[in-house]
Symmetry: C2
Subunit: 183 residues, 2 copies
């Protein structure tokens, strides 16, 4: 199984491809960071990220995309850009029929370090060890993208069993309602 | 000049095309609302909106896209979906070289009703009058999309003067870089 991990961002968007082969062994396939300048028009920046993500989807043909779930507690301006990038990434994957799974930052940290509140250096350290790399992926966004892919591959079997159990239990009401106005 | 107004939303995304012709007369070209079900996978919903917006851009060839600026003060869940849709819309316009201009809800309300805090019924009323429609565009998202297009056409000359002044003030760095990296 091959997973594209995406750490969404406008200034730096981390992309990492990890393969899981025999004996569940993980291997790095590709890692990079797409950069766009804050001086550039916002729409053009989003299109640049879209082009890069579409290229990676076409070049590497992943089975799934693991994307960081965006929360809006943090810096408002950053969060809006991150949400816009995540929208572009999700649409690009759906266009190719590649499923997108969202993972929260704490799920990713817990999966790769065992600690949901691990710091960036711990993530980078563990990603380097898990993928048996000779040097640490840099910048942190690149390591985060690989951590997302690893998290997805390791959580995958459990998530698949949960989905199967839910399916066996009968239909689940999945509708959510946004009070007052549009969504 | 032809403008595509977009009121971004996941459940309902308003799209409206308005032309400005001789004597600055405005005319409705097309209006519709793209709907996606909350039961559908988020990535698939975003792709559905992307398809619709790309179709409208190709069919109607607007000179500009007027998009509502998203704020994150409101309901968190709604705002994230709206930001994701706006990202998809911006990338689709940039792909075609169509400039995107963001207008705040109060700018739009002020432009079409003279009151930055006008309610939805006032917006619908004024859009119907300005475009000399026989009946009101419904739902409100359709009227909002047309109001965005009207706002852009009416604010356009002032915005164009501002852009010209900025241009005269010196070059803006617009380059973005996608590093080759390992792949």
């Amino acid at each position: 199984m091959r997973v594209l991990g995406v750490d969404p961002g406008l200034t730096r968007c981390g992309l990492g491809i990890v393969d899981q082969g025999a004996q569940r062994k993980l291997a790095l396939v590709a890692v990079d960071v797409v950069r766009t300048s804050p001086d550039t028009d916002l729409a053009v920046r989003l299109f640049a990220v879209q082009c890069a993500v579409e290229q990676w989807l076409d070049d590497h043909q992943p089975d799934a995309v693991a994307l960081e779930r965006v929360f809006s507690q943090h810096n408002v301006r950053t969060v809006m850009g991150t949400a816009q990038v995540s929208g572009v990434v999700m649409a690009a994957a759906a266009k190719r029929g590649v499923p997108v799974v969202l993972h929260t930052p704490s799920e990713v940290k817990a999966a790769v370090t065992g600690n949901g509140r691990a710091d960036k250096s711990q993530i980078t350290h563990m990603v380097t060890r898990i993928l048996m790399l000779e040097s640490s992926p840099k910048p942190a966004d690149a390591a985060d993208a690989l951590a997302l892919a690893i998290c997805h591959l390791w959580r995958g079997p459990a998530a698949a069993r949960l989905a199967a159990a839910q399916k066996a239990a009968g239909p689940v009401r999945t509708q959510w309602k946004v009070p007052g106005g549009r969504s």
